[in-house]
């Protein structure tokens, strides 16, 4: 029996939703076993999600990036995948409750709003596929750094207010949040840099030139610059702490701008990825 892309998508949605439920229980009840179950369900969801993407890739004969919804599904998978990697690296499960809603939102949009028949993508080779997936991995990592930085600001405010309620004890320590945000940015910068390099190679192969004035390329370099400044500021005397987190959040708006406005309206060569 072959399970369709849509069925796998709903199965994935169910697993992510269940995982979110256990992450919330972990966050609010402090239950260690709930955290472990949440991680296991997330891993299971990632597996079914992978097969759903594979189904769609077979249908398209390409990585599903040609339409916004396929691209969002890929982004959701990378977001969950990168989160799981950072969760295991930092042994911190409290953030699942903040990341999974974003994953579910992206997946939900893709399942509920997406046209069932995806447009056929022209075959552009494996380097092109690497270019796209590297960039989407970078977006997902920057999304995580945004979430970690936002939670950092909340925790910082609660602690400085000197009237911490129950929430203070449920969120990770400031130091851990900062470290996780930096890890995510390092992953994002590495992936974005790789994506840009793959893009240059693909551009050379397909058109014989590097389209350095394409708005997508320009915003990608801006994003690189913003996050490099963030990494420097996170260790500088004047900026470390809340100010660096604000900078990280501000940089993320460039990512959102690049993924939406630039993809949809400004770039000639970069559509939907």
């Amino acid at each position: 029996m072959v399970i369709s892309f849509t069925e796998l998508g709903y199965m994935t949605g169910g697993l992510y939703a269940a995982s979110l439920g256990f992450y919330l229980r972990k966050l609010f009840a402090g239950s260690a076993w709930a955290g472990r179950v949440a991680t296991a369900l997330l891993a299971a969801g990632l597996t079914t999600h992978y097969f759903a993407l594979l189904e769609r890739s077979y249908a398209l004969h390409a990585v599903p990036y040609e339409d916004l919804y396929g691209s969002m599904s890929l982004l959701a998978w990378f977001l969950a995948f990168t989160y799981l990697g950072l969760e295991l690296l930092h042994r911190e499960r409290a953030m699942g409750a903040f990341v999974l809603p974003l994953v579910l939102l992206l997946l939900g949009l893709e399942l509920v709003v997406a046209p069932q028949a995806a447009p056929k993508a022209p075959a552009r080779g494996s380097i092109f596929a690497l270019h796209v997936t590297s960039n989407i991995l970078a977006y997902s990592a920057f999304t995580l750094s945004f979430v970690y930085s936002a939670v950092y600001l909340v925790q910082d405010r609660l602690l400085r207010a000197r009237r911490p309620g129950a929430m203070v004890w449920r969120l990770p320590a400031l130091e851990d949040l900062e470290r996780m945000a930096r890890s995510a940015v390092w992953v994002g910068l590495g992936s974005l840099l790789a994506g840009i390099v793959f893009g240059i190679v693909v551009g050379q192969r397909l058109t014989g030139q590097i389209s350095s004035l394409d708005p997508k390329v320009v915003t990608s370099f801006l994003i690189l610059a913003f996050y490099t400044v963030y990494l420097w500021s996170a260790r500088s005397a004047a900026w470390r702490g809340a100010r660096a987190s604000l900078l990280c959040i501000a940089s993320y708006f460039a990512v959102v701008f690049s993924y939406t406005v630039v993809n949809l309206y400004l770039s000639k060569f970069h559509r939907f990825y």
Binding site: R160, R162, P164, A166, W169, L174, A237
Partner: protein, 449 residues
């Protein structure tokens, strides 16, 4: 063939009054710290006291539980509970060389169900000074296991203490009574962990070596702080506390350099002037490249200029802030008390049901032996009359009398097995029939001519 009495009645039971649990003790509510210290038992002393109580026949089973907030003797009386309680009190006074009058109003006694409930509440942390604290459960476990190893416990205290450990575990697993129980220094340490995560890579300095400073230094050490300094205006006291906590001591004059190095600063210094001014802290933050600094001001009056709270990446908490947190925390945990008490009640019911069953079975077994003894006394008194019968007829008569005893006991035994209330009332048979040695009839007594 007559129906046989249920097998539970056939076993052998210790003769005497039903075994009753009781406790004698004092705690932080009934006695001041001086008296609590005098009546404190070290683990070895607790075992020696238990040995002496059993050797002198005061009690049949005994466990001594002694912590900084309580000294309690849990025991099972072999004979009358009140005599045993008095005996334990005398031993307590002799052991600690305390006049009995000094204990007036400080010592409490609990018997039976009340004693059981008291132990369960202690194990659950409901009777602790810091509501829901977890340490007490470990102390109950250690005291019990030590007594058990030395053979001071028997079936009743084994069951009672094992159940108390279960109560303690259930209360902690099923309620949030013990979650994040806080004192002022522990609240400060928890906050430090919310800022820095694990403290093993961080450093701290404690200014002042009074009670609060010493507590904070110990808490920091217990939480695995990477490097710890102690500073005091009197260097000897700083050296002393540093030696006790495995810290380094620092000269008071070196405070500015120390501030630039450490992530956590605790102050508990007597004096009216600011120990740490905003300017000093601003300079320290500049020197340390604005790395986060957590300032804990435990001094009354305050030691740290409150204006320092405005400095970037400085987190400043005073005693009042921490006290508020402790109060909030206590209030939240108090909401869990009814659930914890429900667990305690459930286990008290279980234990009393078990013990009343055990006592009732013991009582019926003794009643059976008593009736047989009386049958023998009755037949001895009527030997001449019985000798008119042939040996076969005599055998038959005696057999019928035994059958009658079994018949009389069968129905009560069946009801005993089925009905808890009957089990609880069955112990009154002891008084009715004078079991356990009391009012025993002589030959040819009430059954004879």
């Amino acid at each position: 063939m007559p129906r046989r009495v249920p097998v539970l009645l056939v076993g052998s039971f210790r003769r005497g009054a039903p075994m009753s649990v009781f406790l004698l003790g004092l705690n932080h509510r009934t006695a001041g710290v001086a008296l609590r210290e005098r009546l404190h038992f070290s683990p070895q002393e607790g075992l020696r006291a238990a040995e002496s109580l059993r050797r002198d026949g005061v009690v049949a089973e005994v466990v001594v539980l002694s912590t900084c907030n309580r000294s309690e003797v849990y025991a099972v009386a072999g004979e009358a509970a009140e005599q045993a309680e008095d005996g334990v009190e005398r031993h307590l006074c002799t052991f600690h060389e305390v006049e009995a009058a000094q204990l007036n109003g400080c010592l409490y006694r609990r018997r039976g169900r009340d004693a059981v409930e008291h132990l369960y509440r202690v194990a659950a942390g409901l009777d602790s000074m810091l509501l829901g604290e977890a340490e007490i459960l470990g102390q109950v476990r250690e005291s019990y296991l030590a007594a058990q190893r030395e053979g001071h416990t028997g079936p009743i205290l084994n069951r009672l203490f094992q159940a108390s450990l279960e109560v303690g575990k259930r209360v902690r697993a099923e309620t949030r009574l013990g979650a994040q129980a806080m004192s002022v220094p522990s609240a400060a340490m928890k906050l430090a962990e919310q800022i820095f995560g694990e403290l093993k890579d961080n450093s701290a300095a404690v200014f002042g070596t009074g009670a609060m400073g010493a507590k904070a230094a110990r808490q920091l050490r217990a939480r695995g702080i990477g490097r710890l300094w102690v500073a005091n205006r009197t260097p000897e006291r700083a050296r002393e506390l540093a030696a006790q906590t495995g810290a380094q001591w620092a000269a008071w004059e070196k405070s500015p350099e120390l501030l630039a190095q450490v992530d956590i600063v605790v102050t508990s210094v007597a004096g009216d002037d600011w120990t740490l001014t905003r300017e000093a802290l601003a300079a320290a933050m500049h020197a340390r490249g604005n790395r986060r600094m957590f300032l804990i001001d435990l001094g009354v009056p305050r030691n740290i200029d409150p204006a320092a709270a405005d400095l970037y990446n400085v987190f400043l908490y005073g005693v009042d802030d921490l006290q508020d947190m402790v109060e909030q925390n206590r209030h939240a945990r108090e909401g869990e008390v009814p659930r914890a008490e429900a667990i305690v009640r459930e286990h008290v019911e279980k234990f009393t049901a078990w013990q009343s069953g055990s006592n009732a079975i013991s009582t019926l077994a003794e009643l059976r032996n008593e009736l047989r003894l009386r049958r023998e006394l009755f037949t001895d008194a009527r030997r001449e009359e019985l000798e008119r019968f042939s040996p076969e007829q005599r055998e038959r008569i005696l057999g019928m009398m035994d059958e009658l005893i079994e018949h009389l006991l069968r129905e009560p035994a069946e009801r005993l097995m089925k009905d808890r209330e009957v089990r609880e009332r069955a112990v009154f048979l002891r008084e009715l029939y004078g079991l356990g040695g009391a009012n025993r009839p002589g030959p040819g007594g009430r059954g004879g001519k």
